[in-house]
Amino acid sequence: MIAMTARVRWELSDSLVLARRNLEHVRQIPEKLLDVTFQPLMFVLLFAFVFGGVIDVPGGNYHEYLLGGILVQTLAFGMMGPGTAIATDMQEGIVDRFRSLPMSRSAFVLGHLMAEMAAITLAMVVLSVSGLIVGWRIESDLPHALAAYALLFSFAFSMVWLGMLVGLTVRTPDAVMGVAFLVVFPLTFVSNAFVPAAGLPDGLRQFAEWNPVSAVVAATRELFGNPSAPTASPPWPLEHPVIAALGWCLVIAGISAPLAIRRYRQRTVD
């Protein structure tokens, strides 16, 4: 038991050392934070003031509708950070340095996970504050609001794992961006993140309704008490968005995390 606790402490402290390394990167190159600060802020302003005037949300105001969508979109694109960071490390041979040191094996992956979750937290704060400025409000109570943030965290967690899997799979850091656009772009734009899915043409509408992003967005709106543009007979995931969203998070993390760890082992065992 003592040995076990010592081991966990050892792994945690090594992971923290490596997480701090990523944060130090940010201190050296502050532009690295743009994608979790300035970029989401731009999206809020762009959608609120450029598209906001022309998009009509039945039963609510667009600024309140919008924020859930932008939060989830930012977290979905949040896979790019860990993906690029890990792919860069794998390419630069620094992993060999780490592996020749008497550190915990899992600390490399866990360190990236911790650092990315910290960055994601910052993004959520930036988005929430800028949302409040443009007129978004939490209409539910505190427990529901906390539940909404907890759900967003779970989604971010699963997307960071997905990003690490991609970063460990591709050969160059640049490829991460390609994969992200190929996968995350359609998922976030063909969804209910910015416009109600009901208005989409057949085919796209079904995709949007069953898309994991839509479930998480709908759940976030429900928990914040924001308008969600309900339709007469919503499909199952949008009728039970919280359960569907949690299910999707479990599926994404449940598949990505073990695969990422396996991939890391494969690429470092020789």
């Binding site: 050392v17 630069e92 060999d96 020749s100 008497p102």
Partner: protein
């Protein structure tokens, strides 16, 4: 099996990648406080040997102990006892030089104050004291190598592995690095070093192991090896094969080993004390139309030529559109 041996010890070490044995049947023994130079071309198995000994790769066959610990059974104990500096300086470009060293120190689990002190001390020792706060991505290749070396020294490990520490460095950086390494070894460190340069192995190593296609081609002290390989070479370049033959017979008297012709050049190991002027005069009186005559130190190619009787080309610099041909001419 209890192993009381320290330093580095390996028996029957082999590593197979697919169908290719990158390393086969390598036995080695590096007593504490000595330097082993692994000498060979690219692809000779030097890096594979170092990767196995530093726990980065698992051997397909054989066993190895480093500082008394088995590399397969107890990799963590081995990692606590070693420093590794790779061929591709594994430093973090987005951190400062000091932060790189502190990162390594923390991952060796050294106390915080020791980490700070050692980082400053080592930056001074590798001549980067004034660059401590600079981002490593702005560093030149030589500076990265020196930082990488410093990182491998953070825990003052008893055993050090350096994979081609001076490849790609300019002559000044090379000789600075040699001084640094000699200083380290003087302090009692055990060092395994790989290199493609005969002079580097000669200057730094107590023992040299020549690797060729994953196997040991020769072992011995630098003095023994040099005795076998001979001293300086004379290279005669001429456009016509007949001129090279004429040169070969004209200079036969100066030869101190097998003469070879390779790529339009005649290479002759010469007896110590032979003057370049004598060579040029002999060529001139034999009527040889030489375009170039030069004197140089023996290289790794000469080692292979002497030991195996055939020139072994480094795969990194292939001769284009032509099979590496070499023929021996009896001296």
């Amino acid at each position: 099996m209890t192993v009381s041996h320290h330093g580095v010890h390996a028996e029957g070490l082999g590593k197979r990648y697919g169908d290719n044995w990158a390393l086969a049947d390598v036995d080695l023994d590096v007593p504490t406080g000595t330097v082993l130079g692994l000498l060979g071309h690219n692809g000779a198995g030097k890096t594979t040997a170092v990767r196995i000994l530093s726990t980065l790769a698992r051997p397909t066959t054989g066993t190895a102990t480093v500082a008394g610990f088995d590399v397969v059974a107890d990799p963590l104990a081995v990692r606590r006892s070693i420093g590794v500096a790779g061929q591709y300086a594994s430093v973090d470009g987005l951190l400062t030089a000091r932060a790189n060293l502190e990162l390594a120190g923390r991952l060796y689990h050294l106390p915080r104050d020791v980490v700070r002190r050692r980082a400053v001390e080592l930056l001074g020792r590798v001549g980067l004291a004034d660059k401590a706060g600079d981002l490593v991505k702005t560093f030149s290749g030589g500076m990265r190598r020196r930082l990488d070396l410093a990182a491998s020294l953070m825990a003052e490990p008893p055993v050090l592995f350096l994979d081609e520490p001076t490849t790609g460095l300019d002559p000044q950086s090379r000789s600075d690095l040699w001084d640094l390494l000699r200083e380290m070894v003087r302090d009692g460190g055990t060092l395994v070093l790989t290199t493609q340069y005969l002079d580097e192995a000669d200057r730094l190593a107590d023992d040299i192991m020549v690797l060729d296609e994953g196997r040991i081609a020769a072992t011995g002290s630098p003095a023994e090896l040099k005795r076998r390989v001979g001293g300086e070479r004379i290279e005669v370049t001429a456009p016509e094969a007949s001129d090279l033959e004429a040169a070969s017979s004209a200079l036969g008297g100066y030869a101190d080993g097998p003469v070879s012709v390779d790529d339009g050049r005649l290479v002759i190991p010469i007896r110590t004390g032979t003057r370049l002027m004598e060579i040029v005069r002999s060529l001139d009186s034999a009527g040889v139309e030489a375009t170039d005559v030069q004197r140089r130190e023996p290289t790794l190619d000469d080692v292979f030529l002497t030991l195996t009787g055939s020139a072994r080309r480094a795969p990194a610099c292939p001769t284009e559109g032509r099979e590496p041909d070499s023929e021996e001419i009896a001296a």
